[in-house]
């Protein structure tokens, strides 16, 4: 699930790099790609980390795929239902196999993908692959279990609901998008979550549409060979039938004027400010997104003039960060700020807007741009400290392009970006008509 607090620390999902290949490849592990006839893809990455295997199964289905009104949150609900049993394994049997494998096992959902993962000892690879294959092809959950699981989803909503940034995001996306499914969060609207118990039949249809091999990529990282991985994948997933459903995800029309929204929060909080511009979708070929990826930390990261002024010198803001995530469709570039005194809200908003404007007027400094490329390279390298971490770093890119090579293509693109490219892209996207501003303050707070 997305949370701006987590994003404040860093924005890049980038991976480890043996030094000798550093200039050419960001992801320098040898990997193989094997495609089955049914459309399923397998990516195998053998590593030197001993004994352990990380199995990540990435389904290109997230809240973006939820096209019907009143049906927000179903991709995430499915993340839960996939643990409710399949034709050949009851939930208890599933739990027992994973328990005996000593596995860490869970799943995550965001706008664009659902990722299921297990990390475990290599000797358990066969039973775990067999178990996973059953739920992806033959999920079977009775209606009472379905209804009970919808309550666990409500419980997840509840556990997040004390956090004001969850609400901030919900309102931001509902304001910035009017047609595209990015309008709703991955968790979904509360009213839709509360209606889930009545939608058993719809849930079966959702599975039937999206849990198909052409949407799915298996990523195996660790103490494993390609031969093993291909053999097990063919044996257990080979009979999986290709689907036919393609969601009609509405394009978001161009925004005609700036938008704003205000959230009154019931309990004491420091006020939050979210300033967002519509940005481009992910590309490893066109320069737009790559240029904005580089600009984001330069303009709003911890070394930026703005951060140094608002957070370190004037100390008016205690959290400042930017989310410029990568998505298949155009999404948002959002600066979040938590302001210490409500009376400074106008000042902080103007400072952030002036910073966006500044980068449309003045090109970034070449030295800072080079330092940012270095930072991307090392932050990726530092992340790749276990097989599970490597699989986890790959998952977003698998969700976007189904291949690790897109990471290398993107990094090559980063090397080509000039200060002028960045200025030109800033001019294209940082326009008032492309903007949404949401403020969240405690009820009764003055600003």
């Amino acid at each position: 699930m997305r949370t701006p607090l987590a994003l404040l620390s860093l924005l890049f999902c980038v991976a480890a790099v043996p030094a000798q290949q550093k200039e050419t490849k960001l992801f320098a592990y040898n990997y193989s790609i094997d495609d089955l006839d049914n459309g399923l893809r397998l990516v195998t990455v053998p590593t030197d980390f001993p004994n352990m295997v990380a199995l990540y199964i990435v389904v290109q289905t997230g809240s973006r795929n939820e096209v019907e009104p009143g049906k927000s949150g179903y991709a995430h609900l499915f993340e839960h239902l996939m643990f409710r049993g399949s034709e050949n394994y009851t939930p208890d049997q599933r739990d027992l196999i994973l328990k005996k494998a000593g596995a860490e096992s869970n799943a995550t959902t965001n706008q664009d993908r659902t990722t299921y993962y297990e990390t475990f000892s290599k000797e358990d690879l066969d039973p775990v692959m067999k178990l996973e294959a059953d739920r992806f092809q033959r999920l079977k959950y009775p209606e009472p279990a379905y209804k009970t699981e919808t309550l666990a989803v409500l419980g997840e909503f509840n556990k997040n609901s004390a956090d004001p940034t969850e609400k901030l995001d919900e309102v931001l996306y509902a304001t910035a998008f009017t047609k595209h499914t990015y309008e709703h969060t991955t968790m979904g609207f509360l009213k839709d979550i509360q209606d889930m118990p009545n939608q058993y039949a719809y849930s079966l249809q959702f599975y039937n549409r999206f849990y198909r091999p052409e949407y799915t990529t298996i990523v195996l990282v660790g103490d494993v060979t390609r031969e093993q991985a291909v053999g097990l994948t063919k044996r257990y997933f080979g009979e999986w039938k290709r689907g036919s459903y393609v969601p009609d995800i509405p394009a978001e029309p161009p925004q005609a004027s700036p938008r704003t929204a205000v959230v009154d929060w019931n309990t004491p909080t420091l006020p939050w400010l979210a300033i967002a511009f519509k940005g481009p979708g992910y590309s490893d070929e066109k320069k737009d997104k790559a240029a904005l990826d580089l600009l984001a930390p330069i303009a709003f990261g911890s070394t930026s003039d703005l951060y140094q002024r608002l957070v370190l010198k004037e100390q008016k803001v205690d959290n400042l960060g930017i989310d410029a995530g990568s998505h298949p469709d155009p999404e948002l570039i959002t600066v979040y700020a938590r302001v210490k005194d409500p009376r400074d809200m106008d000042y902080v908003r103007e400072q952030i807007l002036a910073t966006f404007k500044r980068f449309t007027d003045v090109p970034v400094d070449q030295t800072t741009l080079d330092a940012t490329r270095s930072r991307i390279r090392y932050s990726f390298a530092l992340r790749l400290n276990s097989s599970a971490a490597i699989a986890n770093a790959l998952a977003p890119y698998i969700g976007l392009r189904r291949t690790p090579e897109t990471i290398n293509k993107l990094f090559t693109l980063y090397q080509q970006i000039t200060p002028q490219d960045i200025q030109s892209v800033a001019n294209q996207y940082f326009t008032p008509n492309n903007r949404t501003i949401v403020t969240l303050t405690s009820k009764g707070a003055k600003n």
């Binding site: 000593g102 556990k159 609901s161 010198k313 991307i376």
Partner: protein, 495 residues
């Protein structure tokens, strides 16, 4: 009493001690990784905060990790670290303070030149102090009190259990004490506690072996000082169940309960009790008993877990952070937020299941499956270089062997009888402490004291076994005296 393990178990696969003439304690894991990991540990922490200066240990560590040195301001430090994508982190608990950092070996010299200055030559600049103290106050007033009911409940539970004990305040301090702290307090804490006697140097990764001596020489310049070797006793709790109901405007109810145990990782009974807790409520795992009964069978909430070691930030973590070693621990149950109308049912269900565990113990099958899980899961816990180094430092603190070897050896020897004996010996019901975070304080207090039944309604048919059990749970008595069920407005917590 804590029972220490026999000396025969003190085998080790990592290097403790040092070939250099220095007397500094070291834990070294040289290897071939392109990354180099630092964990510089001081065996001091918030249990050494002077009275009235709660939060000083943590603010001191933060001043080092997020403040300037004498020669560089913090904004210069941020600029310096930026191209390396590295940072310096700190973590403070009752008896441990650790500074962490990882860098690519290509940047090791540059990174270390700064890292050592941040720890050994801190600037204690007033502008950093002003920012970090304000952050500390806001993290209590805004982040913990008002945006995370679960961590709020768990941390308050610790404060209740250790009231009047050196562990009896949140590591981050109190609002009232933080507001009085000065830079001189920080300097003074640094001088007294950041000593050679408290230091353990942890290094891992693909550095040249000569680098170890360089680090030891640099850190050898710290004053030798005296070690913070204070003995902390088990808190003496009054008999009976005590319940704090923290009230705030929130849509659901979070519940935490627990009591002190005389078991740490170094105790003879630790493997048995750790196994019992894992069976009952392995963190974030669906294959544990409590989760099955409360979430899977009844849909009460998102998850239900049990612990024998302090596990802060559990809301955000799948596995615990290392370097939270303590002489004293608690047994804890964490019930994630439930719908407000199910608050009493959830509390009763947790107590009912806990009492059943204490009464019946666990089965042979559950024992064997959990043992297999934990034996293998040690590899998951220690899969990164940073985690391996952290666990090695903890093993050094507890005086036990390498964690993975220790776990494998201990669990292979364990029997079901050991586990059930440990449950009987350590899991109590006579001094329970409970914290609930809710908007319905009065109604819950009433329901507890008058033993008002709390039936639960489901949205789907349930098996007879569940319906029958619910009849017992909905009237399950919470034995607490009126004076021991206290409503606490959230603004008073951590004040």
């Amino acid at each position: 009493m804590m029972r220490k393990l026999g000396i025969a178990l003190l085998l080790s696969t990592y290097l403790i001690g040092s070939p250099a003439p220095s007397k500094l304690a070291t834990v070294l894991l040289p290897g071939s990784s392109p990354l180099v990991t630092f964990r510089i540990l001081f065996t001091t922490g918030s249990a050494f905060d002077p009275p009235g200066k709660e939060g000083l240990a943590e603010l001191t560590a933060t001043m080092l990790a997020q403040g300037g040195t004498r020669s560089m301001s913090y904004d210069q430090i941020v600029q310096f670290l930026y191209p390396m994508a590295s940072s310096v982190g700190s973590q403070v608990d009752k008896e441990m303070t650790v500074f962490t950092g990882t860098t690519h070996v290509e940047n090791l010299d540059r990174y270390y030149s700064l890292f050592k200055d941040m720890l050994l030559d801190p600037g204690f600049r007033p502008e950093d102090f002003r920012r970090l103290r304000e952050d500390a106050v806001n993290s209590l007033k805004v982040s913990l009190r008002e945006s995370n009911d679960e961590e709020l409940g768990k941390e308050h539970l610790y404060n209740v259990i250790y009231a009047g004990h050196p562990y009896g305040h949140y590591n981050g301090g109190k609002v009232s004490s933080l507001e009085k702290l000065t830079v001189d307090d920080v300097r003074s804490f640094y001088r007294s506690h950041y000593t050679g006697a408290n230091l353990v140097i942890g290094l891992a990764g693909g550095y040249e072996r000569a680098f170890e001596s360089r680090v030891e020489t640099d850190f050898g310049k710290l004053p030798e000082g005296k070690a913070d070797k204070k003995r902390f006793d088990n808190p003496k709790l009054a008999a009976g169940t005590h319940i704090d109901i923290l009230t705030r405007d929130t849509r659901s109810t979070a519940i935490s309960l627990g009591f002190p145990i005389e078991v740490t990782r170094a105790s003879r009974d630790w493997p048995a009790l750790a196994l019992a807790a894992s069976y009952f409520g392995q963190h974030r795992s669906s294959n544990s008993y409590l989760y099955q009964r409360l979430r899977e069978a009844r849909g009460l909430n998102y998850g239900d877990y049990a612990y024998v070691e302090y596990f802060p930030r559990g809301m955000f973590l799948m596995v615990p952070d290392p370097n939270l070693g303590r002489q004293q621990q608690i047994f804890q149950i964490w019930i994630r937020p439930v719908e407000a109308e199910n608050s009493m049912f959830a509390l009763r269900a947790a107590l009912y299941e806990y009492d059943k565990l204490v009464r019946d113990g666990i089965s042979q099958e559950a024992f064997e499956n959990t043992r297999e899980f934990l034996t293998k899961f040690a590899n998951v816990l220690t899969q990164t270089q940073g985690a391996r180094l952290g666990y090695a430092l903890d093993s050094h603190y507890y005086g036990i062997p390498d964690y993975n070897d220790y776990v494998k050896t201990q669990f292979s020897r364990l029997t079901l009888a050991d586990v059930n004996a440990a449950i009987r010996r350590h899991l109590k019901t006579d001094r329970l402490r409970i914290v609930m975070v809710t908007k319905n304080g009065d109604a819950i207090r009433d329901a507890i004291l008058k033993n008002i039944p709390s039936p639960i309604a489901y949205n789907s048919p349930k098996p007879k076994e569940i319906m029958d059990e619910d009849k017992t749970i909905q009237a399950y008595k919470v034995n607490a005296k009126p004076e021991d069920v206290v409503i606490v407005p959230v603004a008073q917590v951590f004040q």
